[in-house]
Symmetry: C2
Subunit: 217 residues, 2 copies
């Protein structure tokens, strides 16, 4: 697995190699927590392998899953830009291979090659747009649509081949901010209609087009 091509974000070769020279490799075991909400931090992480869950706790103890990230994405960018408390908890769902980029390292890169800054700014803008869109969906869409969209997103994040997601109904429920039961009901209804197939802890998408139409896309 070559370091230099693990990012699926459109990144110039120059920025890519500049960051990679400085990013430090690290590993996580399954279920290990990389950082907790409110922890202080000043680093961003690129995911080279494995999957992590980003989540927040509500005051009442409910967990809200924000995202599942895997090879090709990054997370923790807020603390990179403004050192301070993390806004979410990052937990490894499985064995993970990461690259850590500390704030000082980023500043060093930008100091040496100021022209890269334009690109960095654009990347941040893209990320903000992404966050905003997701917030929207969370707030405005009814459960079935949120669920269908989440499944489709998770599918793109999965290595190609069989569109088979490995997560339980409860995990999925956290990710869409709904109850386990509601998710189960939606899934088993879709199963009957042939949109997907479910097993213990796994969901296989059979009819992505159908799901897309449920999702309103």
């Amino acid at each position: 697995m070559l370091d230099k091509d693990f990012l699926d974000i459109p990144l110039s070769p120059e920025l890519r190699s500049a960051l990679m020279d400085l990013a430090r490799p690290m590993c996580l075991s399954p279920r290990e927590t990389l950082f907790d909400e409110h922890d202080d931090g000043d680093a961003l992480y690129f995911v080279v392998g494995g999957r992590l869950e980003l989540s927040m706790m509500a005051e009442d103890g409910r967990k809200l899953g924000l995202d599942v990230v895997s090879r090709g994405s990054f997370f923790g960018e807020i603390a990179l830009l403004d050192p301070g408390p993390r806004t979410a908890t990052a937990t490894a769902l499985e064995e993970c291979d990461l690259r850590m980029l500390r704030r000082a390292d980023l500043l060093q890169v930008l100091d040496r090659s100021p022209h890269l800054m334009v690109e960095v700014l654009r990347l941040i803008g893209i990320r903000m747009r992404d966050i905003t869109d997701q917030m929207n969906e969370q707030i405005l869409l009814p459960l079935p649509q949120k669920l269908a969209r989440r499944l489709l997103r998770l599918a793109t994040v999965t290595e190609g081949g069989p569109r088979c997601l490995r997560l339980s109904h409860s995990e999925l429920a956290d990710l869409v901010g709904a109850s386990r039961e509601a998710v189960s009901k939606a899934l088993s209804s879709w199963k009957k209609q042939g949109y997907l197939h479910t097993g213990r802890g796994s969901i296989e998408l059979l009819d992505e087009a159908g799901l897309r139409s449920i999702a309103g896309l």
Copy 2:
């Protein structure tokens, strides 16, 4: 009204004056739309005077108010970083005095004074943390808490003195993603309990501590 002190964001004198030299003054009439969701844009705006509403449309036509901004804040930063479609609509609630900062101008500033970049990055980080927190509240809190928090936020945004907000129940409802009726009910209950006083199109906070406790703060 001096230009140089209209921003209540912690900003170094140097960055402040660098940006102000390039930002172009502009005005809006009440109810005028500065830009629409999906419009292409590449500029950020500082608010010198007046108030604007930032909002998004749901697919079903419902309006979700994201924020009300006034003197001292800025908005439109996503398109500044990554020129492209706006994620929200910006509408003047009253006569507004703005300063427009285009992407090219920002890049010019940063090109001339690369050391300012560190500060810019931090500002963006702060904004992202802010957005994330708000998203959270929107999703996780029950209506009364969302409402109380929104009122308190709006109050800090208001010029000092009487904690009197000028907006209708419907506007408020859009801002917390609820129905006008639900907002009316909460408000009139709080009115009976002496937390606030309401008039036609205005809300005066009488007991901020009480509201803070409803808000769970």
